[in-house]
Point group: C2
Chain length 368, copies 2
């Protein structure tokens, strides 16, 4: 399907000034370069290149503006104390991207090639990885349909891009519980819909619930679209509940995004012999457990926050205070272990870390 691609490089003439580590705002500053590749029907993906970060020029009739055919990914590059750049399970993101592509009728990318391109881009932009504790370089691969055509059909032209944004520490003062509201009116997606794909429309659909939520609600907890009974996930995290000694998370059912962090959490818990269950979990069950004093912890898991303890869960009239609003032991251990692995402070028993090396930059420079 894919021919061997060479990555063309066009380096920018002067580098932008980088923001200080203590003034980083999520998703507003971008590195000097980006990766771009085009798809043309009949020709496949072509013209892989690393070019200066700059606006793109696109027709007003480009299909992305009208019919939402797009997918994206999110991951991070971390700097170790030794000054090495590393990625966390990036192959899973490109695999998930192809899963999303399939649902959205977007032609698949060559995952191995995308990973190679990403490593070269990170090697080139290594200085953009901030150094302070908890900071990282956020990586946003995405594909948009660019064909100028007002018709509801899969597009014949696409752009695959990777852009980079340095981000500050998620928790400024250490890991800290948040307040989450169970959403009972709006629905994010439903079985048979696009829930297990990472596509723009799911996030557009989610905005209204957040807007309607009361002050202080960090994110909403989605219930299934059919019965509005079973827990699905949080805005940008999968969710776990520790009930009576067991950690329970909703099973992948076709409408939940399969998080890389979720998968890592499950593996770690198994490794530690903590009982973990992937199954249907109703809000009634969580409420019941809370009434009986058996709801020990709740936390979200996703790339942005890694682990986000839930201190209070608002469900209609009910306000469930969890673990006295404090971070639980399991959440804390997961957070410490995952960030430890990501920043190279803890051993990595699963081979999750992928270093970005000097030779990635060499192989890139060789093509200039």
């Amino acid at each position: 399907m894919e021919k061997e691609h060479a990555i063309q490089i066009d380096l920018c003439s002067s580098r932008k000034e980088k923001p200080r580590d203590d003034e980083l705002e999520f998703g507003r500053t971008f590195a000097d370069h980006m990766f771009v590749m085009d798809y043309t029907e009949g020709e496949g993906w072509h013209d892989a290149r690393i070019v200066p970060y700059e606006p793109i020029t696109i027709d007003p009739s480009a299909m992305i503006f009208h019919y939402g055919q797009s997918v994206f990914e999110g991951m991070k590059a971390y700097l170790t104390a030794e000054g090495n750049a590393q990625l966390f399970r990036p192959e899973r993101n490109f695999k998930r991207m192809n899963h999303s592509n399939s649902r959205l009728c977007i032609p698949p990318i060559d995952e191995a090639f995308a990973l190679k391109a990403l490593k070269q881009l990170i090697a080139l932009e290594k200085e953009w990885i901030p150094k302070a504790e908890g900071t990282s370089l956020y990586i946003r691969p995405f594909i948009i349909s660019t064909e100028p055509f007002l018709g509801v059909a899969p597009a014949r032209h696409y752009k695959f891009m990777i852009i980079l944004s340095p981000v500050g520490a998620y928790y400024k003062e250490g890991i800290n519980p948040i307040k989450i509201a169970v959403e009972s009116e709006y629905v994010r997606t439903v079985k048979g819909g696009t829930g297990e794909a990472k596509t723009g429309g799911n996030y557009a659909a989610s905005l209204k619930a957040q807007e309607a939520a009361e002050e202080g609600i960090a994110q909403v907890l989605w219930l299934d679209g059919v019965e509005k009974k079973y827990i699905e996930e949080v805005g940008s995290m999968n969710v776990f509940f520790k009930i009576d000694g067991k950690v329970v998370t909703p099973a992948l059912n076709g409408s939940i995004l399969e998080g890389v962090t979720r998968n890592s959490v499950i593996q770690l818990l198994k490794h530690w012999d903590v009982p973990v269950e992937e199954r249907k979990l109703s809000m009634d069950e969580v409420f019941q457990a809370h009434q009986e004093g058996k709801l020990e912890e709740a936390f979200g898991a996703g790339t942005a926050a890694v682990i986000s303890p839930i201190g209070e869960l608002v469900w209609g009239e009910h306000r469930l205070n969890i673990n006295s609003g404090k971070t639980g032991a399991v959440a804390k251990k997961l957070y410490d272990t995952l960030t430890g692995i990501q920043y190279g402070k803890t051993i990595d028993p699963f081979g999750w870390v992928m270093p970005v090396e000097e030779r990635d930059l060499q192989s890139l420079k060789a093509t200039v």
Copy 2:
């Protein structure tokens, strides 16, 4: 909310060559000018302008590329035998656009101003309305989130644009029945979702079902996302069934788009004293009616085809042949009446037509 806007004009230096009326392809050719207006938080909608149709320049981090926050509309301008340009119920499209905006957390537009701008644009581009029978100028208003920010939140910057594309006759050889398949795996949307909004994500979600459908299927018929039992609508049309003398269409339930054509069809049927019901309608009921010989007609209704008779309905193993695969009397009368009104051939008892007049062009020119 809106201050009085003046529309700035920047006319193109030379006009493009127009395609011949018999070589028009839907949505691939665009008129010389487009309408553009920007939204900035704190400032509202501003800088309304009519400018040459050309690509826009937009940041790779623009939110539309990532989180799908967008809405669109679709309507047409028609040329009468006397050479006058006219619109069909355009105020309904801008009203629906604001309804979509509300669901997608996009700031509302000033509907009266948008209509004024549209009329001026059509007056300027009148020559782009093709003349041959059944042809028209397709009008695509749309709004996209343009803020460069990788965060899931309503954007603070948007672009509202109107582009125009001359389109050929939908039926080259007279109104003609199509084959539709009932979709039982994929779901377009669900109550609580974005189904009643005209937003890109709904259409992106719909592509897979069409891809999976057998050869010859023109569009798919969506069932409700909860029970997969009740009929909702077709890809880009609302749907009607004539059962035992009564015309039945699914009631607006929160997940169906409220079509302008649908509303017009209902009004016409009432005007003609044809019994019409808006209610829940299951596929079982339609199947049962067919078995008993009571399914007299089925047709879709939407701007593109106006009325699209359904000659065959594929539902799993079943193939329902409707009215011997021929256009029914009600569908035909609706088609003739609606197109008659749109092209100014039939009297317009409801005041649906809105003429675009010489003074719309005058008032535009006055601002140059």
